[in-house]
């Protein structure tokens, strides 16, 4: 079996950004793969650009890292020159500039999310090619294929912060269940007027889906619990 350990690092990924009544919730899985091998099972794909703007990265790990590094650098200078926090729209536009002008070389889909005093919570999706689309919610990465139907049904406007985060965690967890390129833990970042909150949901804290079983320490525990003659027919 060829694990192809020399394949480029790619974040198969599931990434999500959702607006709610007062801010945004960003969510992602934590798997980074090289071919069939999981190079990092606890990656952090939600990267800070400024105090109030974060980006979810998918696709090529290298491309998404370097793009977000450049944009963080530009935004830092922009914030100093502007004298106040950068807006989410400007952050999205800088990402767009790099994504569009290097479209032939980059392979990364990004979701920019944050809060600013002018527009409140905003989410911008920037898929391959460099299109910018402002959306009430955005999904991306290979795992997102399994979530279009879910969001069509489950999304509603003006959710509370708790509802929005629960939706995001549920969605990433569902995608992890079906997408081999997504896995690990669910990370979320909530951004609003008050500030930023990072949360972490390891696999064992998530709901079980179809044909998934309750994790055990060992078969021995099952055998012992079931009684003196568990394997008798």
């Amino acid at each position: 079996m060829d694990l192809n350990l020399d394949a480029p690092h790619s974040m198969g990924t599931t990434i999500i950004g959702v607006t709610y009544n007062g801010g945004v919730v960003l969510g992602a899985d934590s798997r980074t793969s090289t071919g069939m091998y999981v190079a990092n099972r606890a990656s952090d794909k939600i990267t800070q650009l400024t105090d109030n703007v974060y980006v979810c990265r998918s696709g090529s790990a290298a491309d998404s890292q370097v793009v977000s590094d450049y944009v963080r650098y530009f935004l830092h200078q922009h914030t100093i020159q502007l004298g106040q926090p950068a807006t989410v729209k400007v952050s999205a536009n800088l990402i767009r500039m790099l994504a569009y002008n290097n479209k032939n070389m980059l392979q990364t889909g990004l979701i920019v999310g944050g809060w600013d005093k002018y527009e409140g919570g905003k989410i911008y999706g920037i898929p391959l090619g460099g299109t910018v689309v402002e959306q009430p919610f955005a999904i991306g990465g290979s795992g997102s294929s399994y979530l279009y139907g879910f969001f069509d049904q489950a999304w509603k406007e003006n959710m509370t912060k708790e509802e929005a985060e629960q939706l995001v965690v549920k969605a990433v967890s569902l995608a992890i269940a079906r997408d081999g390129a997504s896995g690990g833990v669910v990370r979320t970042v909530i951004i609003n007027e008050e500030g930023v909150t990072r949360n972490f949901y390891p696999g064992d804290q998530l709901q079980l889906w179809h044909e998934e079983l309750e994790p055990q320490n060992s078969l021995l525990d099952i055998l012992n619990a079931a009684g003196p003659e568990p394997m008798a027919m």
Binding site: K103, N104, P127, L128, G129, T131, V133, Q135
Partner: protein, 245 residues
Amino acid sequence: MTFTIPIDNGDAVKNAEADSQRTLYPYVTGTSIVAIKYKDGVLMASDMGGSYGSTLRYKNIERVKAIGKHSLLGASGEISDFQEILRYLDELILNDNMWDDGNSLGPKEVHNYLTRVMYNRRNKFNPLWNTLVLGGIKNGESYLGMVSMIGVSFEDNHIATGFGNHLARPILRDEWHADLSFEDGVKLLEKCMRVLLYRDRSAINKLQIAKITEEGVTVSQPYSLKTFWEFQAFHNPTAGAEGSW
């Protein structure tokens, strides 16, 4: 300054130099635009879809935009390239306004500008992957034309792009006539858009119709069309021929 790094996966890097300025394929695309001249100006219809390959990924994309006071631009093809073209046109209109000479760019001029841009990009093998439809009216004269990604450019009384070329054009050739009223124009466009909805896989049932007259531009709210499925033949098409379709 140049030092060669031995790279195994060098193909991507070596070819990057040569191909760094070539758009090879579109990612997020819009489907057909259909437009007609009518009594008071031009009507242009498009759906609000942005497809990502076969996935109907985005359902709220506006593919028809007002340009200055006298023109409407509709685009099918790669949305990021359309967004870039809108930036070019922003600059064009801004510079036109800065002259402050009472003149303003009409549809003919905007069409010409776009034709030059598209053709020159085509010559460099780096096209903007769009088919653009430019409609407008200035000083009582209505104008409707299109430019393709290879720089083919022309004017006509009715225009259709993408699947519309095959499905809408025959309808327009048959039923378009000069001095259509607004109502008849809208009905004609809706007839075309309904056929596209039935037969174009990348069409979605959410459309906008934009109108440009001497008074200005109006883009309708997004709306959906009713579809008809009650043909007898649809109810039991394989009765008597099981396994057929």
